[in-house]
């Protein structure tokens, strides 16, 4: 009985996570979404996007544009919380890699290596809160 309750809770949680992840992805530029899915771009541990492979000029422009916008929102939020932009960016990067990425997308480990996100726990920056 207890096992089945736990199963149901787990299933519901998984469903909620999947739904929120899908809803979350819908706000993205399709070109950006496909660059993520194909593993051309990935999440770096510092809270910004990076190039897994040498980018085409359009992908480069897309990523640079997003990174500038990220820096803007990090700056605004950092100011509101008495943190530095780097701290705000790193903290968000931790969350993006740990909670927001879906399987198959690329992230950069603290050693600088690109890895594919899967079901296992990602290699996070040691400064990420646990």
């Amino acid at each position: 009985m207890r096992d089945s309750v736990e199963m149901i809770i787990a299933a519901v949680l998984l469903g909620v996570t999947a739904t929120s992840a899908m809803a979350f992805q819908s706000g993205r530029d399709p070109a950006y979404q496909s660059a993520r899915e194909s593993g051309q771009v990935g999440e770096k541990s510092d809270g910004y996007l990076g190039f897994v492979v040498p980018p085409s000029s359009s992908v480069r422009a897309l990523v640079e544009d997003i990174n500038i916008k990220r820096k803007a929102v990090y700056s605004k939020e950092a100011l509101a919380n008495g943190a530095t932009v780097e701290e705000m960016a790193l903290r968000t990067g931790c969350r993006l890699i740990a909670e927001r990425m879906v399987a198959g997308e690329k992230y950069q480990t603290p050693s600088g290596q690109w890895k594919t996100r899967d079901g296992s726990a990602p290699e996070l920056d040691p400064r990420c809160p646990r």
Binding site: E77, A83, L96, R127, P129
Partner: protein, 79 residues
């Protein structure tokens, strides 16, 4: 009177010449040092490393939990 004037002119001329000589003598070593004393700039054999390790305050990271969630939620196109 005319002779006196010539003498004065000569004296002035001599004074100028001797001063010019001194001036040239002063500049010769200076010019020599300009010509020979080139500053040698050689590229270092090791790469220049700039440490960009910005101080991250661990206690601040803990406080940013809600803020990071908010940032991601409110900017869906950027993440």
């Amino acid at each position: 009177m005319a002779q006196n004037r010539d003498q004065l002119t000569n004296r002035t001329d001599n004074a100028i010449r001797s001063n010019m000589g001194k001036t040239i003598l002063l500049f010769v070593p200076l010019m020599a040092s300009v010509l020979t004393g080139c500053v040698q700039v050689t590229a270092p054999d090791k790469p220049i490393v700039i440490n960009l390790n910005i101080a991250i305050r661990q206690e601040i990271l803990y406080k940013l939990s809600a803020a990071s969630e908010k940032v991601i939620e409110n900017n869906p196109g950027v993440f």
